[in-house]
């Protein structure tokens, strides 16, 4: 019932929730990350996500497998998009279902935290002034955005 994917087209969050919903699960938790218009105080116009795709797919699936074991979730779907994303576009979506709410919520949190630590995906921010920069969360002055 669980799967993960690196995708290049728009992520359809409603479809993912529909895929997961079932009368056997009482709780469905989801998280989506979207492209923000501001980063570290600079105005962003777009973000280019690139990945080491083969490893990103493996690592994402490892996270899903770990999460399934750890939280006993009934179903878990994770999609991460790569390519040039516009403001407001969904970059990542996580949907987790469980009979009870706590494991569903905790699973979702676990997956996004692990993605940010381990999945080889990078983003280059395009700024209003024409500049472009690779985002390095290890150097960021502020908390890394979602």
């Amino acid at each position: 019932m669980s799967r993960s994917a690196i995708v290049v087209s728009e992520i359809d969050v409603a479809a993912l929730i529909g895929e997961i919903r079932s009368a056997s699960f009482g709780a469905v938790s989801s998280f989506i990350g979207t492209v923000r218009d501001v980063s570290d105080g600079r105005r962003v116009t777009a973000i280019e996500y690139s990945a080491y795709s083969a490893m990103a797919e493996s690592e994402l699936q490892r996270i899903v497998d770990e999460a399934e074991k750890r939280f006993g979730v009934s179903a878990l779907v994770v999609e991460h998009r790569t390519g040039l994303l516009e403001l407001g576009d969904v970059s990542v979506a996580i949907v987790a279902a469980h009979e009870h709410r706590s494991p569903a919520l905790e699973c979702t949190k676990f997956v996004i935290e692990e993605i940010k630590k381990r999945v080889p995906i990078w983003k280059m921010e395009h700024y209003e002034d024409g500049m472009r920069e690779w985002v390095d969360p290890t150097r960021s002055k502020h908390t890394s955005p979602a």
């Binding site: 990945a51 493996s58 381990r118 080889p120």
Partner: protein, 81 residues
Amino acid sequence: MSTVTVQLFASYAELLGASSIELSLAPGSTVSELVRKIRLLPGASLLPTTPRVAVNRAFASSDQRIDPSDEVALIPPVAGG
């Protein structure tokens, strides 16, 4: 000596001006020996002292040995999500 291809991504590919490099490694070389060799390349001085390395699509420890058939990559700080 055998030849190993190392894939580069994002900021590291820009630093070294290539999306992959070929290195000669003595048999039984470890990840940290690989990194030491890479850091001698032009542009590579800006790499962190111990960049993350993936072997066969999984993060590798510094003492892991590298086989010529392995898929090897340098992994810049990830920024997914």
